[in-house]
Symmetry: C2
Subunit: 356 residues, 2 copies
């Protein structure tokens, strides 16, 4: 079986098997609360803006994001989704050396390879997915930058903030940049955001995506936060009009939806607890996730069998064959609505009953 790079592409395979039933896609990590914006607002925005070029400097938008983040607009770069932010940062370090803490989002490595960055990897500890702090620190002097995802995709785990602080201090001694992808940071408490460390640490680069929390992956909205010279260097690498006008128009109103984010977090805390207790009762290993997805493995059976069993029961999980250090041992699931999570638990019960 050929495993696709991204989870959702399994639709193509599955549709061939069963076209008549509803498929639940647990492979995509987006907020099931749906967009917090009325389609009417999007439409209203569309009328005015799709017929105009976006401002090539995105100046006003950067100002608004800066205001929201407590930063100056020249410390903000708006990007064509989080993906463009990753590739711009890689381009910024082209030909140099990077460290990637694995398993993590596969696009960091792909971006590094594209820009001839020599990549070293360190692995999270087996089973617990804890941080190999000493090992990372030891390599800081040999690399120009470190890619970290926090909360981490695909494990859902959160590295301790104090360890990040200690890493930033160490990294500064060697002039090593720390790139932290906060694509899922909206799902955890505000106090976990690292925005306030942009000013004390010019070697910190934060990547943000608005795709997951606001359930609008189709619009492509992301940004990058760092000190102004880094932002200006990244901006000089960006293609013109990279961010579409709809994204540019909608971002400010999305940032204001604080109660939506609060509601999402409350729901998530409950739902994670509910899920984890049930999954453990069924003797699955579950990662200690603090965000809207988690890793799961059955200690008794290979995940490929479980994957196919789930598929036959209309559930798409995310395989982990292309995550370094996981190599297919786990499956990743998004936290979805209670009803859908219950359906998943029931299918997993059936699996346990049938397979032992």
């Amino acid at each position: 079986m050929k495993w696709p790079d991204h989870g959702g592409q399994f639709h193509e395979y599955l549709n061939e098997i069963q076209q008549d039933e509803k498929i639940l896609d647990f492979s995509v990590n987006i907020n099931p609360f749906g967009p917090p914006i009325q389609m009417e607002e999007i439409i209203q925005a569309s009328f005015d803006i799709l017929g105009r070029y976006p401002d090539p400097s995105y100046r006003k938008l950067a100002e608004e994001i800066g205001q929201y983040e407590g930063l100056h607009s020249n410390e903000v770069l708006v990007t064509n989704g989080g993906a463009e932010a990753i590739f711009l940062v890689a381009q910024h370090f082209k030909g140099k050396k990077a460290l990637i803490v694995q398993p993590t989002f596969i696009e960091y490595e792909r971006a590094c390879l594209q820009y001839n960055i020599q990549v070293e990897h360190v692995l999270l500890k087996k089973e617990t997915f804890q941080w190999p702090f000493d090992e990372i620190v030891k390599k800081l002097k040999d690399v120009h930058c470190v890619f970290i995802c926090r909360p981490n995709n695909p494990t859902g785990t959160l590295i301790n903030k104090e360890e990040i602080l200690a890493l930033l201090i160490e990294a500064e001694r060697f002039g090593t940049s720390i790139i932290i992808d906060e694509a899922f940071v909206h799902f955890i408490p505000d106090s976990e955001r690292l925005t306030k460390w942009i000013h004390p640490f010019p070697n910190l680069i934060l990547l943000r995506s608005l795709t997951k929390i606001y359930s609008l992956p189709g619009i492509r909205m992301g940004y990058c936060l760092s000190e102004k010279d880094t932002i200006s260097a990244l901006k000089s690498l960006q293609i013109p009009w990279s961010v579409n006008s709809l994204a540019a128009a909608i971002i400010p109103s999305l940032l204001e939806k604080k109660s939506f984010i609060q509601r999402t977090r409350e729901w998530l805390t409950n739902e994670l607890e509910w899920l984890q207790s049930r999954l453990k009762q069924l003797d699955f290993h579950v990662s200690n996730a603090s965000t809207n997805f988690y890793l799961l493995k059955d200690p008794n059976h290979h995940s490929d069998h479980l994957f196919l069993f789930l598929a036959k029961n209309n559930i798409i999980a995310r395989h982990t064959h292309n995550f370094k250090g996981l190599d297919g041992e786990y499956l990743r699931f998004a936290v979805r609505s209670r009803e859908e999570n219950e359906y998943l638990i029931n299918v997993l019960k059936k699996w346990r009953e049938e397979m032992g």
Copy 2:
């Protein structure tokens, strides 16, 4: 005075002077007929798609474009506007040598510089903007690719198709790629498109933008046509989910609007004739444009003075200070509605009366 890179940014300057009056922006080259699509269609598409990731391979979309163009889907790459197509092609030739036929769209050179491409320039003939064919052919053996805009921005002129054919034949002998940006090709007869030469000439790369003809620059829609190995190499350089879902959903229905394009062409032929005869009566030099914009200069006065006179009369022209070989000598104007073109002619009459 600091001349901005793109015309529209003058709004910022002008708004400071006069905020109460309507400003006519002749600096942006988009079709004044407006989008041929009902906003309701966009909205309908939005409902379904903004909440989903675009298919990362854009396979179905490439198939639909391929069908429209008479090419296979693996000869099509969908891009985040025409701009991404330009930058991907430059990245494909990184570190090599390119020839640019100037004056032309400034992003070719910017993209080349970004990817360490050594650039040589040849200039169109003064006044007539005719092609220096022999000079281009002479340089073919020394470069890996040639950037050509056809119809050419900013002159609006169209290089003879037979000369392009002769160039392709010569270029093939040296393994030199010919990159032709057809961003404005929809404004001229179908027979001028070079799509049919993709199969006989594997060294031909065509760049397309759907921005100008369909007046939807905010959505960012472009694509690239070439033989399959080139397309596959360009695709491997593209960031994931580069094209937003709205663009992906709308492109097929836009391609079907053939009568809209026909109507646009009929209007343009009339309007260009009307404009050129009036402008010549007023003793301006006008480029022999076949598309929806033209260059104009007053042989008696420097264009900067004319630019400011127009601005005071609520007209924004596109300065040409950053076009090689023009150096500010001309101004570029979009062909707009008859009423707006009449207003322009009247302001130019006033200029002639006052300045002689």
